[in-house]
């Protein structure tokens, strides 16, 4: 409880901090006016991404004057927002694009006015923009390959999909299907729609498991599929957990740790040696985008597309962090104590290219 109240204090301070960033600017000329345009803030991944961008801005107080805005799920509003940011004198705009295509004219207009535009996580197709993305095809292929191997290349598979109609979902599903199609003995028996939401995934899996049972399932694949699958199995009294890939939540990684390796953990958010591969879009992409934008503004050449590190954590490589500092993360820890973060919190925050970012950056926006 003590740690909790300290955390909320720090979180409170973090809310006030953007004012501080602006004030501490005068040291060496004017800092660059940089805007972050988010499409929405209502989930763990977005909250962490925002924290990491804030942390990156705080780590460079002399060069960055960051202002964060959220547009909501309507593309038109993000277009309006980007236009307004350009008018407000932005030097760079970092954008989490609600659509890879719909923002193109607004982005092109910004570029024409000399604004540096970076899209993160989801790419935009406008050629003048820089993209910082995770290779979704590689992510899906690697995780599907691992699950297929754990299944011994045969058996029944539950294939969970995400938000239909998005490029990320379409790319991932196509790549994973290609892998599973190579093994004729693997049969996809259900395709629940998890919408990349733990709560929806739980409901969808419950629905699927009402018309089939765990004894006949040999593997599960899909984002937000693993924690809920294993929890359902445990609740159904099935101790023989199925191999699963791929999500990036701390819940999944904790469950992958050897049984009994964390004291005081209870319920299903506890180590149980579950067989899994943890891979997910990197929530630090926005922070990298900000750092690269500073490089571009400083006159350096930056590649148009930057791929985020894709570090797979499997049951044999899952390792608990003590503090979660950058150095510790670099040395290979990748899982956090259940007492510190909730199960749905994304643990895939390590990135060797951003020494500014550690556990505290993702949690409360505090740079190393």
């Amino acid at each position: 409880m003590g740690a909790g109240s300290i955390r909320s204090l720090v979180a409170g301070a973090a809310l006030l901090a953007p004012l501080g960033v602006g004030a501490a600017s005068a040291a060496d000329g004017e800092p660059y006016k940089i805007f972050l345009s988010m499409s929405y803030v209502g989930n763990d991944w977005q909250a962490e991404a925002q924290n990491m961008v804030s942390a990156m801005a705080r780590a460079h107080p002399d060069t960055v004057d960051l202002q964060i805005q959220v547009a909501g799920p309507v593309a038109q509003k993000q277009i309006q927002q980007i236009n307004a940011m350009v008018q407000a004198g932005a030097k760079a705009i970092i954008v989490y694009p609600i659509s890879p295509t719909a923002l193109n004219p607004a982005i092109k207009n910004a570029c024409n006015k000399g604004v540096v535009v970076f899209a993160y996580d989801s790419s935009v197709t406008e050629p003048c923009a820089y993209n910082v993305v995770t290779d979704q095809v590689a992510l899906a292929t690697q995780s599907a390959e691992w699950v297929a191997e754990q299944m011994g290349h045969k058996g029944n598979l539950i294939f969970m999909t995400g938000v239909p109609g998005t490029s990320v979902d379409t790319d991932r599903n196509a790549a994973a299907r290609k892998v599973f199609a190579r093994y004729p003995d693997i049969k996809i028996v259900a395709e629940p729609n998890g919408m990349w939401s733990q709560a929806v995934a739980r409901k969808a899996l419950t629905e699927v498991l009402a018309t089939t049972n765990w004894d006949s399932i040999d593997g599960v694949w899909g984002a937000t599929a693993c924690v809920q699958s294993w929890s359902l199995q445990v609740e159904a009294g099935d101790k023989d957990l199925v191999p699963c890939g791929a999500e990036g939540t701390n819940g999944m990684r904790v469950m992958m740790l050897p049984e009994g390796s964390i004291e005081g953990a209870s319920g299903t958010y506890a180590p149980m040696g579950a067989p899994g591969i943890s891979l997910e879009s990197h929530p630090g992409a926005g922070a990298v985008a900000l750092k690269l934008a500073l490089d571009v503004l400083a006159g350096k050449t930056v590649a148009k597309t930057t791929l985020m590190p894709l570090e797979a954590v499997t049951s044999s490589t899952a390792k608990l962090c003590k503090e979660g500092t950058f150095d510790e993360l670099k040395a290979g820890c990748n899982t956090f104590d259940p007492a510190l973060v909730p199960s749905g919190w994304f643990a895939n925050i390590a990135n060797p290219d951003t020494p500014e970012i550690g556990f505290q950056a993702a949690l409360v926006g505090q740079p190393e």
Binding site: Q81, S99, T101, L103, P164, G165, A190, T211, P342
Partner: protein, 676 residues
């Protein structure tokens, strides 16, 4: 103010009174604009005006279409999905030749009109509730759109884009503004025709319109077709603006479109309002984005500020109502001092239930059937459809399905919708709508975790429900006493709650559900999940609450006719406050249940429940116009929705096809609800 009214001609005064909604819409827009202008370093340039019109045109044109349906006293949920349909259709097919551009632009608009025709046939000719018909067509159209384009892509020729985005007159008039003006001109021309008169007539009173010889069916059908075509125009412009197709771009526009309609001064009761206000409303919504940027509103507070602005804008329009409410309150205080009120109320509460009809048949079963004919008529379709879905599921999954586990899951998953149905159902029976359900679910779930570890311990679940009920009562106060529109009030509360939840947690909710709640939702006693026993008790209690209590009698009275209810001595405001408090408490209960079910609260966990909460209520035979509906019917609706979702989740067909099937089954289920 008084001076102007007295000196102005009576014609002007009447015209002002009639266009009060429009005036408020314009004043709101002007206020936002002035506020922006005063705080922008360089002021609003032509570039800003031009880009704002480009961003707003889609929303504005769609809102014009939605307004036409609202004037006819309908509600069209298909608007967002049609925008995407047209968008993808054009982006996939249009090529460089001028002929192709014209052809596909027209085909895109035609596709919208076709969806409108589909809606119109079911609503106008088959007399099904518009909200459920358009909900079904929304799913079907979303499915078809995904079949046309399964991910963002496609491209339209540059010439097509530049035509719609250029300046009509260089540095004076942007083309998007011209397009909106043309659509508005079309609306004013339409309004002046006999069709326009009929449209307002059927919206005010269908019976009166029919008696005056208005062709109600064709007018209503026309309204949906025109609206559909306008969504098509909106989608076509969006395609030109974005230069590409994206199947996910339209659906999120649903709520903003309705907010633009209401901000534009068109009430959902039909027969009043107009399309010019909707354009003002759309512009206001879009300029709020600039306002948030200028004032550097932190991300977590964005929805809070938006919510408060909505309330302020609508409050400005109900100044008169506030004066009335204050006067009524003073009167009540004085009455209370003379202690006449309570006695009168007590007399009312003691009124006996309506006496049994003496002409009832002798046989007990037939007597029961005759007495409950209305209930049966409205709830039977849901149960018949449920039976069909169950039989289909059992045949489809024969061999791999175990009955006990299937029905266990069915009832556990139904529990969420059943609890939501009581709250949303009560509000709908009372003539309202509660859009704050999603944020309330999340708020409750998140706060359960926070307060359990924050010192409240075992009392946290009770505290959550009580706080939620208090917030709901506040919405009810705004709606019942101040006269705010339910849609705006609850949407604003939804936004404020979203922000509060984010701020309270820093975006990362802590804590888990107390162990006993998780056990209730996921544990097993003899193969059954404990919550099922509670569900049975809940269904019984909820049925009694909505059938046998004085709360129910007041609720149905208020929903049928608030004026009559008022003169019958029912406190309309108090009844509405109770209904919204109940709805909020039910949503909070679902939040607690969901947290127990998923093991943890998630900041987006309430979002998927808005439309289902309304759908189960309507499928269960509750009239959106208020005053009719039973809990048993709604429970049937909840079972049907859950069983359908379970069946579709288990079959191996693409999401697009699942959407189409889902929409079709919902439509089939409500055909039995035909009003005769």
């Amino acid at each position: 103010m008084t001076a102007t009214t007295t000196t102005a001609s009576p014609d002007l005064a009447r015209s002002l009174a009639r266009n009060q909604g429009l005036l408020v819409a314009f004043t709101t827009l002007a206020a936002v604009f002035v506020l922006l202008q005063a705080n922008l370093a360089d002021g609003f340039s032509y570039y800003d005006v031009s880009s704002t019109f480009a961003s707003t045109a889609t929303l504005a044109i769609a809102a014009i279409g939605a307004t036409i349906v609202v004037i006819s006293r309908g509600l069209d949920l298909s608007v967002g999905s049609v925008i995407s349909l047209t968008n993808c259709l054009i982006a996939v097919n249009m090529d460089d030749s001028p002929g192709s551009m014209v052809l596909w632009a027209l085909l895109g608009i035609g596709a919208g009109a076709l969806v409108g025709l589909f809606n119109g046939i079911f609503v106008a000719l088959l007399r099904l509730p518009s909200i459920i018909v358009t909900l079904a067509s929304m799913f079907i159209v979303e499915g078809i759109t995904l079949m046309i384009l399964d991910q963002p892509g496609g491209m339209v020729p540059a010439g097509f884009s530049s035509f719609f985005l250029s300046d009509a007159i260089a540095n004076v008039l942007p083309m998007p503004a011209v397009l909106v003006a043309v659509v508005l001109f079309g609306w004013f021309a339409l309004k002046a025709t006999p069709f326009g008169t009929s449209l307002y007539a059927i919206g005010s009173s269908e019976e009166a319109a029919l008696a005056r010889g208005v062709r109600v069916d064709t007018t209503r059908l026309g309204a949906y077709v025109i609206a559909g075509a306008l969504y098509g125009v909106a989608g076509m412009f969006l395609t030109a603006q974005t230069g590409s197709g994206d199947p996910t771009v339209g659906p999120p526009m649903l709520l903003p479109v309705f907010v633009a309609v209401v901000l534009g001064g068109t009430p959902f009761t039909g027969g009043r309002g107009g399309c010019l206000g909707a354009v003002f409303g759309a512009l206001t919504l879009m300029l709020i984005v600039n306002l948030l940027l200028v004032f550097n509103v932190p991300t977590f507070y964005a929805t809070v500020v938006e919510g408060c602005l909505l309330i302020l804008a609508v409050l400005a329009g109900s100044r008169q109502r506030i004066t009335e409410a204050a006067a009524g309150f003073r009167l009540r205080l004085r009455r209370r001092a003379h202690s006449a009120g309570p006695r009168l109320r007590r007399q009312y509460a003691d009124l006996p239930l309506p006496r049994a009809d003496d002409t009832l048949p002798a046989s007990a079963v037939r007597r029961w059937m005759k007495r409950n004919r209305a209930t049966l008529r409205s709830s039977l379709p849901a149960y018949v459809s449920l039976l069909v879905v169950l039989v289909a599921t059992l045949t489809l999954f024969e061999g791999r399905l175990s009955g006990a586990s299937y029905f266990n899951s069915l009832f556990v998953l139904t529990a969420f919708l059943a609890v939501l149905a009581l709250g949303q159902g009560s509000v709908v029976i009372g003539g309202g709508l509660d859009l704050s359900v999603p944020a309330m679910i999340t708020f409750a779930g998140v706060m359960l975790g926070e307060w359990t570890i924050g010192g409240l311990g075992g009392f946290a679940p009770i505290a959550v429900v009580v706080v939620a009920a208090a917030i709901g009562a506040l919405s009810g106060f705004g709606i019942g006493v101040i006269g705010m529109h339910p849609l705006i009030m609850t949407l604003a509360v939804n936004g404020i709650l979203e922000g509060v939840t984010l701020v309270a947690t820093g975006g990362t909710p802590r804590g888990a559900a107390p162990g006993w709640i998780s056990w209730l939702m996921t544990g097993k006693i003899a193969g059954l999940t404990p919550v099922i026993a509670i569900l049975l008790i809940f269904v019984l209690a909820a049925s009694l609450l909505l059938a046998r209590t004085s709360f129910a009698r007041r609720l149905y009275a208020v929903g049928s006719n608030p004026v009559m209810a008022y003169f019958s001595g029912v406190s309309v405001a108090r009844t509405q406050i109770a209904a919204y408090a109940l709805s909020a408490a039910c949503a909070a209960l679902v939040g607690i249940m969901l947290t127990g079910f998923s093991g943890q609260a998630f900041i987006d966990m309430g979002t998927p429940y808005l439309l289902p909460s309304i759908a189960v209520v309507v499928i269960g035979g509750t009239a959106m116009t208020g005053g009719r509906g039973t809990f048993l019917g709604m429970f049937g609706g909840a079972l049907l929705m859950t069983a359908l979702s379970m069946a579709l989740q288990g079959v191996l067909v693409p999401i697009a096809v699942r959407n189409v099937i889902f929409g079709a089954v919902i439509l089939g289920a409500v055909i039995g609800l035909r009003e005769t």
